[in-house]
C-alpha cells in the first residue's frame, strides 16, 4: 500500500453521521467517507474519468444545504456535517432506483451482467424490486450488434455516461455521445450511425466502464464449444499474458493473483487439443520487432517506430493519424503470429492438415475480435485465418463455469511444448511498458553482443499516462516512450508533429495501464475501481512471475531459438516476413 504523507495543515475537520473525522482538503464527500470506513453508493462516478454527478444515487444530507448533495463531486469544507444514511437519503436513493428500473429491460436472469451488475446490486441493497417500477412508457431500442466485438442494448442503459466519458477522456476517440433530450436522450454514435460505421477502435473500455448489461462483448463461446465438439478439428488454444492475471477475479480470488497453472488445467479439461501460451509468440514478436527496430536505426528507416501489438492502437492510428502508418512496426501482434505459426510450423511438425486446425485465442481484449478479421492476417496461406476465434477472459470464465469446473480447487499444470514455453519478457507484455522492456532486453544484447547484468527497465513501468527514458544501447542513445490510453497517443502524436518531442521507439497500448486492464478483462465495480488501481495490481502478477524466472529474455527462449533453427531461419527473413508481418490501411476517410 502506498501511504500518502499528508500535512496536518491540509486536513479538514468534518463530521460524518455524527462522528468527527478528518480528511484531506480537496477531498470529495465520497472520498472522505470512504477513508472513514463508509461506502456511499455510486452509479455514474468513475474516478478521473466521469465526475458529473448525474445519477444522484450518491446523494447525502449536508447540514445547512437546502437539498441533498451528490457526494461524488461535492468537496468537503471545514466543519461540514454529513449524513449518509438518513431516511431522506435512503428514500431518495430508492426512488431513483425505482425510476431507473422503470425504463430498464429487466431480464436479469439471462443478462450478460448478472452477478456483476452495479444496478442489480444496489437494488438488492435497497430492497427495490422490479414490481416497484413506475408504470408508463418504455422505449424499445434496437440492439446495435453491428460491430464485430460488442453490442449495445440501450434498453439496459442507465445514462450514467461512463462509456462516453471513457471513450472521450481515456481513449480520445469520442465515437459515442448523447443525443436527444429528456426521456428520449440516449447514447449512440453521431447522426444515428451504427457502432461498426463509427470511428470505434474496439478497445472495449466502455464495456468494463458500464455498470449494467447495456454494453457487452460479442459472445463467441458457442463457436468454441462447437469446434471442440467436432472430432475432425484439432483445436488449439492460446492465452494472452494478462488473462492469467485477471481470470482468478471471476472466481472471487484476489485482484492480481496469477492463476496460470489452474487456467492451463481448466483449458485442458475443457477439451482443447493443445494448450499454448501467447507469451511464446510474444517472445517471437520481440525477436522480429527488435530486429526491425535495429534495422530502421541502422538503415535510416522511418522513425520513430511504434509497437503494433495493440489492435486498438493500430485502428486508432489508421483512423486518426494515417500519416504515422509508416512508423508502425510491421510485426503482427503475438496473437496473430501465434496463429500463423500454429497453422504452418506446428501443423508441419505435427503433420496435421492446417485446414483442420482451429486456433482459439483467449485475450483480455475485445479489439482482438476485430484483429482476427483484418486483411493480411492469413500467414499460413489463403483461407487459413491466423486465428479463428477470439474470446475474452470473461468468456473463458463462462466456459469454465458451464463446464462445471471448480476453478479454485483445480490442480496446476503447465502449458504444452513447444508453443507454450515463454520467457519472463513474454509474460510482461500484458502491462504497459512490458513490450518496451522486453524489446530493450533483447535489443541491448543483440547490439552489444554481451549479456546484460540488470534486466529490468523500471522507468517504463507503471500505469500512469506517458513515460519516457533514454537508454544507452551499445553506445547509441535510444529514446523511448511508453504510453497507454489512446487519448495520450493523441497528445503524443500532436507533440511529435509539432516537433515538441523526439523518440526512437514508442510503445502504445490503447487501454489505460495496458492489456491487464483490457476491455475483455473481468468486471470490477466502481466501488473497487474508484479506490484502487486494478491495472497496477494485475500488472504485479506479471512482473512477479517475470522476476521469479531464470529465463527472462526472449532471445534466450529455447523454443524460440528452435523455431528459427527449424523453420524461420532468422528474424526478419523472407519466410518470417511472410508469416509474421502485416500491412495497414488508411481508415481516415471514414
Amino acid at each position: 500500500m502506498i501511504s500518502k504523507k499528508v500535512d496536518t495543515m491540509d486536513m479538514i475537520n468534518i463530521k460524518i453521521n455524527g462522528i468527527p473525522c478528518q480528511a484531506p482538503a480537496g477531498s470529495t464527500i465520497l472520498e472522505a467517507a470512504h477513508a472513514s470506513g463508509i461506502a456511499i453508493p455510486t452509479l455514474c462516478y468513475l474516478k478521473e474519468i466521469n465526475a458529473i454527478g448525474a445519477c444522484r444515487i450518491c446523494v447525502v444530507e449536508v447540514k445547512g444545504a437546502k437539498t441533498l448533495v451528490p457526494a461524488c463531486v461535492h468537496p468537503i469544507s471545514e466543519g461540514m456535517e454529513i449524513f449518509t444514511n438518513t431516511k431522506r437519503v435512503h428514500d431518495a436513493r430508492r426512488t431513483n432506483l425505482k425510476l431507473i428500473l422503470s425504463t430498464h429491460r429487466q431480464e436479469c436472469l439471462s443478462c450478460d451482467r448478472n452477478g456483476h451488475c452495479e444496478l442489480q446490486n444496489l437494488c438488492y441493497e435497497y430492497a427495490v424490486d422490479s414490481n416497484m417500477a413506475f408504470e408508463g412508457e418504455k422505449i424499445q431500442y434496437e440492439i446495435d450488434d453491428s460491430a464485430v466485438h460488442m453490442q449495445r442494448d440501450n434498453t439496459k442503459c442507465i445514462m450514467c455516461r461512463r462509456c462516453t466519458a471513457v471513450c472521450n477522456v481515456a481513449e480520445g476517440v469520442g465515437c459515442i455521445g448523447v443525443s436527444g433530450r429528456g426521456f428520449t436522450a440516449k447514447i449512440g454514435s453521431s447522426f444515428g450511425e451504427k457502432l461498426a460505421e463509427s470511428k470505434c477502435i474496439h478497445c472495449g473500455q466502455c464495456i468494463i466502464a458500464c455498470p449494467t448489461g447495456a454494453l457487452s462483448e460479442k459472445d463467441d463461446t458457442s463457436k468454441v464449444w462447437e469446434a471442440i465438439a467436432d472430432p475432425d478439428k484439432y483445436v488449439i488454444v492460446q492465452t494472452a499474458p494478462s488473462v492469467r492475471a485477471g481470470l482468478g477475479e471471476e472466481f472471487l480470488m484476489d485482484i492480481g493473483e496469477n492463476v496460470e497453472g489452474k487456467m492451463v488445467t481448466a483449458l485442458r479439461m475443457l477439451g482443447f487439443d493443445a494448450v499454448f501460451d501467447t507469451d511464446w509468440a510474444a517472445d517471437l514478436t520481440i525477436m522480429e520487432e527488435a530486429t526491425e527496430l535495429l534495422h530502421r536505426i541502422q538503415n535510416g528507416g522511418t522513425m520513430p517506430m511504434f509497437t503494433s501489438c495493440c489492435p486498438g492502437w493500430i485502428k486508432f492510428c489508421e483512423t486518426f493519424y494515417p500519416e504515422f502508418i509508416p512508423n508502425l512496426s510491421t510485426c503482427k501482434s503475438p496473437q496473430s503470429m501465434f496463429g500463423a505459426m500454429a497453422k504452418s510450423y506446428y501443423a508441419k511438425k505435427m503433420d496435421i492438415d492446417p485446414n483442420n486446425i482451429v486456433v482459439v485465442s483467449v485475450m483480455p481484449c475485445t479489439a482482438k475480435k476485430f484483429e482476427i478479421t483484418r486483411d493480411d492476417m492469413s500467414g499460413a496461406g489463403e483461407g487459413l485465418r491466423d486465428v479463428d476465434i477470439s474470446i475474452t477472459t470473461r468468456e473463458l470464465s463462462k466456459m469454465i463455469r458451464r463446464a462445471g469446473l471448480l476453478f479454485n480447487i483445480l490442480p496446476e499444470s503447465e502449458f504444452d511444448a513447444p508453443l507454450g514455453i515463454a520467457s519472463g519478457a513474454g509474460h510482461i507484455f500484458g502491462a504497459s511498458g512490458g513490450v518496451m522492456e522486453a524489446a530493450l532486453r533483447t535489443a541491448a544484447e543483440v547490439i552489444t553482443g554481451k549479456s546484460l547484468g540488470a534486466v529490468e527497465f523500471k522507468e517504463v513501468r507503471g500505469a500512469h499516462g506517458i513515460k519516457e527514458a533514454t537508454y544507452d544501447i551499445g553506445g547509441t542513445p535510444v529514446r523511448v516512450c511508453v504510453l497507454s490510453g489512446a487519448a495520450n497517443a493523441r497528445t503524443l502524436l500532436e507533440d511529435i508533429k509539432a516537433g515538441k518531442r523526439q523518440y526512437d521507439f514508442i510503445e502504445v497500448m490503447a487501454c489505460p495501464g495496458g492489456c491487464v486492464n483490457g476491455g475483455g478483462q473481468p468486471f470490477q465495480p466502481s466501488v473497487v475501481r474508484n479506490f484502487s488501481s486494478v491495472s497496477s495490481m494485475r500488472a504485479e502478477a506479471l512482473y512477479g512471475e517475470d522476476a521469479s524466472m531464470e529465463l527472462r529474455k526472449s532471445h534466450e527462449n529455447p523454443a524460440i531459438k528452435q523455431v528459427y533453427e527449424e523453420y524461420l531461419e532468422a528474424p526478419g527473413s523472407d519466410i518470417a516476413h511472410h508469416l509474421l508481418h502485416t500491412s495497414y490501411v488508411d481508415r481516415s476517410e471514414k
Binding site: G53, P75, A92, N96, L99, G136, R181, G182, F183, A185
Partner: protein, 628 residues
C-alpha cells in the same frame, strides 16, 4: 457617425442626435416588435415612407397650428410598445397619439387627415369602458405602469444609436469611466440591492463582487438572452426595442469587474433581436463605444453574439456557458460556481437582459433612487409578459410589490369574455400558480417564494374558469420533460413518470394513489435534481395540487373535468326520445362505437368512442349531445 474618443465628443454627439430628433416636428413611430411585425407593421412602415416621399411639400399641422415645410416628417420603426393585443401600433409625435390595430389600408387616411390636417381618426383610437384615448400615456394599460427599463421601447428607433444617444444614452458609461472606480461601481450596484431578473433573484452586486475578487484576471460578462419560458417576451422586447441600454449595462459590468470580453446568448428564435443587437454592436464599435480604449480611456471591451438553438435548459447558467463553448448545453454540478469558473472556466458575470438594462439607470440616478421604487428587499421594477385570459395582454412593467389585482384588473383590464378569474401561472414551467387568495399580495421575490411560486423571468399567464388546472400541470410537465437535458435521473426519468401519471389523469385513467405518487416524485425530484430546471420542475404540479386538489380528485374519482377541457371526460349521448334510429351516426362513426337497430334509438359505447364529434354533426335530428 465619427469615432468618439473623449467625453466632449460624446456630449456633442448626444446634442447633435437630440437636435436631429427634435428637428423633425412630426415623428411617426411604427412598432416593429415581433408581434406587430407579424400583424403587418412592415407593410405599414413602407406605405408611410412612400407617402412621405410622394408628398415632399406638404405642411404639417399639429396642435396650435404649427406649420412646417418639407423634411420635417420622420418615419421610424420602433421597438415593442408592449400593448401587443392592440397591434399593429403607430405612435405620432409630438402629440403622443397612439393608433391601434392599424392596417396598411389606413395609411393614406392617417397621412392625409392626421399628418396633413391634424385630425384624429377616432376609429383607430383605443377605447375602454366607453372612453376613447387619444394619448398613449392616458391609456389605463400604460397609466398604471412604471416604465423604466421599457421607457424607450416604442419611443425610439432601435436601429440607430443616435436615437439612444438623444435620450441621454451612454451617460452612465461615461460616468463610471470618468468619475467612478470599478469598486465604486460595484458598491453602487450593491447598495441598490438590484436582484437578478432572470428568476433566482440573486444579488447582482454580490455576484459582481465575487467575480471582481477572483485571482484569475481573464473574466467574462455573459448576458442571458435565452428567454425560454412559454409566453415570456420581456427580454426580447428590450433587445429589440432598446438594445443599447442592455449593452451599456454590460459595459458597466465589464468595467466594474475588469472583464475584457462579453457574450450575449440569444435564442435563434429571436431573429429580430439578433439583427438589432448586431446593428447596435456594430454601431457602438463604429463610434468607439465598444472596442479598444473606449472614450480614450484604458478600458477595452468587446461583445459577441451567440445564438442558442432553442434548448430551454440553456437558460441555466452552466448549460449556457457550455453551449457558448461549443459543447452540448447541459448543466454541470456546482461548485465551482459561475462566478469562479464560468465561461471557458474563467470568472464570469452572468446576468439576464433585464438586469443589465437596469444598470445604467442605477448608475445615473443612484442607488437611493432605485431603492425608492418597489419593495424593501426587492427594489426596482419588474417587467412581466401578461398573457392568457386577460383583456389586454402584452408587456408591462410595474414596481415590485404591485399586486396581482392591480396587474390583472387595472392594467390588464380584467378577465376576457364571460370568464371568471381562476389562477395565474407565474414563472412559467419553473413557477407555481397563484389564486384568488393571493390577489392582494405584493409580488416580489420573497413573497412569492413563501407561497411556493417564483417570479421567474416574469411570465404571467392568467387563467379563467375555462382552464383545467390538471391540464395546466400536464402542459408544463410535458414542457419540462421535453426540455430536460437528460443528464440526471430525477429530471430525465422522474418528470417522465410524473408526466405519465398526469396524462393518465387527464385521459380519465387516473387512480387516487396517483396523487400520492405525484407528491412523492415531486418531493424527491426537488430534493435531488442536478440543476435549477430539475429542482423546480415539479413546482407547477405541487402548487396546483395544493390549491386545486379538488380538480385532481374530480378527474380521478368522478372522471369529470369541470372546465370542459379534458376531452376524454366528455360523453356523447344519444337522447332516445329524439333518435329516429336512422343509423347515420353509426355509419359516420370512425371508431365503430355506435350500435342499434334501425328505427330504434341507437347507443354510443363510451369505451370505444374517440370523442371526434362526427356523430353529432351527422345527426339530422339534434339527438346527440355532450355531457361532461
Amino acid at each position: 457617425m465619427d469615432k468618439i474618443t473623449n467625453r466632449d465628443m460624446l456630449e456633442k454627439a448626444r446634442s447633435k442626435s437630440r437636435q436631429e430628433v427634435e428637428s423633425s416636428r412630426c415623428r411617426i413611430l411604427i412598432c416593429a416588435g415581433t408581434g406587430c411585425l407579424a400583424g403587418g407593421s412592415g407593410e405599414i412602415y413602407k406605405r408611410m415612407c412612400q407617402l412621405v416621399a410622394d408628398n415632399p411639400n406638404i405642411e404639417v399641422h399639429f396642435g396650435d397650428g404649427i406649420a412646417h415645410g418639407d423634411g420635417d416628417i420622420a418615419v421610424h420603426k420602433s421597438g415593442c410598445h408592449g400593448f401587443c393585443e392592440m397591434g399593429p401600433l403607430m405612435r405620432i409625435e409630438p402629440m403622443g397619439i397612439l393608433y391601434t390595430k392599424v392596417k396598411p389600408e389606413n395609411c393614406d387616411e392617417i397621412f392625409h387627415r392626421t399628418i396633413e390636417k391634424g385630425e384624429i381618426i377616432r376609429e383607430l383610437l383605443f377605447k375602454q369602458d366607453g372612453r376613447e384615448y387619444q394619448r398613449q400615456e392616458d391609456i389605463p394599460f400604460y397609466k398604471k405602469q412604471t416604465r423604466n427599463v421599457l421607457k424607450n421601447c416604442g419611443h425610439i428607433d432601435a436601429e440607430h444609436i443616435s436615437e439612444y444617444l438623444a435620450t441621454g444614452g451612454y451617460k452612465a458609461l461615461e460616468k463610471v469611466l470618468f468619475e467612478m472606480t470599478p469598486d465604486e461601481v460595484i458598491k453602487e450596484i450593491s447598495e441598490s440591492e438590484l436582484r437578478g431578473r432572470g428568476g433566482g433573484g440573486f444579488s447582482t452586486g454580490y455576484k459582481w463582487t465575487q467575480v471582481a475578487r477572483q485571482k484569475e484576471k481573464i473574466r467574462y460578462i455573459v448576458c442571458n438572452g435565452d428567454e425560454g419560458d412559454p409566453g415570456a417576451f420581456m427580454d426580447r422586447s428590450v433587445m429589440e426595442g432598446d438594445p443599447h441600454k442592455m449593452l451599456e449595462g454590460m459595459m458597466i459590468a465589464a468595467y466594474a469587474v475588469r472583464a475584457q470580453e462579453g457574450y450575449i446568448y440569444v435564442r435563434a428564435e429571436y431573429p429580430l433581436a439578433i439583427e438589432r443587437l448586431k446593428k447596435a454592436i456594430s454601431q457602438a464599435e463604429e463610434c468607439g463605444l465598444l472596442g479598444d480604449n473606449i472614450l480614450g480611456t484604458d478600458f477595452s471591451f468587446r461583445i459577441h453574439i451567440n445564438r442558442g438553438a432553442g434548448a430551454f435548459v440553456c437558460g441555466e447558467g452552466s448549460a449556457l456557458t457550455a453551449s457558448i463553448e461549443g459543447n452540448r448545453g447541459m448543466p454541470r454540478v456546482k461548485p465551482p460556481r459561475t462566478v469562479e469558473q464560468g465561461l471557458f472556466a474563467k470568472p464570469t458575470v452572468l446576468n439576464n437582459v433585464e438586469t443589465f438594462a437596469n444598470v445604467p439607470m442605477i448608475i445615473q440616478e443612484g442607488a437611493k433612487w432605485f431603492k425608492s421604487i418597489g419593495t424593501e428587499k426587492s427594489p426596482g421594477t419588474k417587467a412581466f409578459a401578461l398573457t392568457g385570459s386577460v383583456k389586454h395582454t402584452g408587456l408591462i412593467e410595474v414596481p415590485m410589490g404591485t399586486t396581482l389585482r392591480e396587474i390583472i384588473y387595472d392594467i390588464g383590464g380584467g378577465i376576457k369574455g364571460d370568464g371568471t378569474f381562476k389562477a395565474v401561472q407565474i414563472g412559467g414551467p419553473s413557477g407555481g400558480c397563484l389564486t384568488e387568495q393571493h390577489m392582494d399580495i405584493g409580488l416580489d421575490f420573497d413573497s412569492l417564494k413563501k407561497i411556493g411560486a417564483m417570479i421567474g423571468s416574469g411570465g404571467l399567464v392568467v387563467m379563467d374558469n375555462h382552464t383545467c388546472m390538471v391540464e395546466v400541470a400536464r402542459f408544463f410537465m410535458n414542457f419540462t420533460q421535453n426540455e430536460s437535458c437528460g443528464k440526471c435521473v430525477p429530471c430525465r426519468e422522474g418528470t417522465k413518470r410524473m408526466l405519465d401519471i398526469l396524462e393518465r389523469i387527464v385521459s380519465g385513467r387516473g387512480k387516487l394513489e396517483d396523487l400520492d405518487m405525484l407528491e412523492e416524485l415531486a418531493g424527491m425530484i426537488t430534493d435531488t435534481a442536478l440543476c435549477g430546471l430539475g429542482k423546480s420542475a415539479a413546482l407547477p404540479v405541487m402548487s396546483t395540487l395544493k390549491f386545486f386538489r379538488n380538480e385532481y380528485e374530480e378527474h380521478v374519482i368522478d372522471k369529470r373535468c369541470a372546465s370542459h377541457t379534458c376531452s376524454a371526460m366528455k360523453r356523447y349521448i344519444i337522447s332516445p326520445d329524439r333518435c329516429k334510429g336512422c343509423s347515420k351516426c353509426a355509419r359516420n362513426c370512425p371508431a365503430g362505437a355506435i350500435s342499434g337497430k334501425v328505427k330504434e334509438p341507437f347507443v354510443i359505447d363510451p369505451d370505444k368512442c374517440i370523442r371526434c364529434g362526427a356523430c353529432e354533426s351527422a345527426c339530422a335530428f339534434g339527438a346527440i349531445h355532450i355531457e361532461w
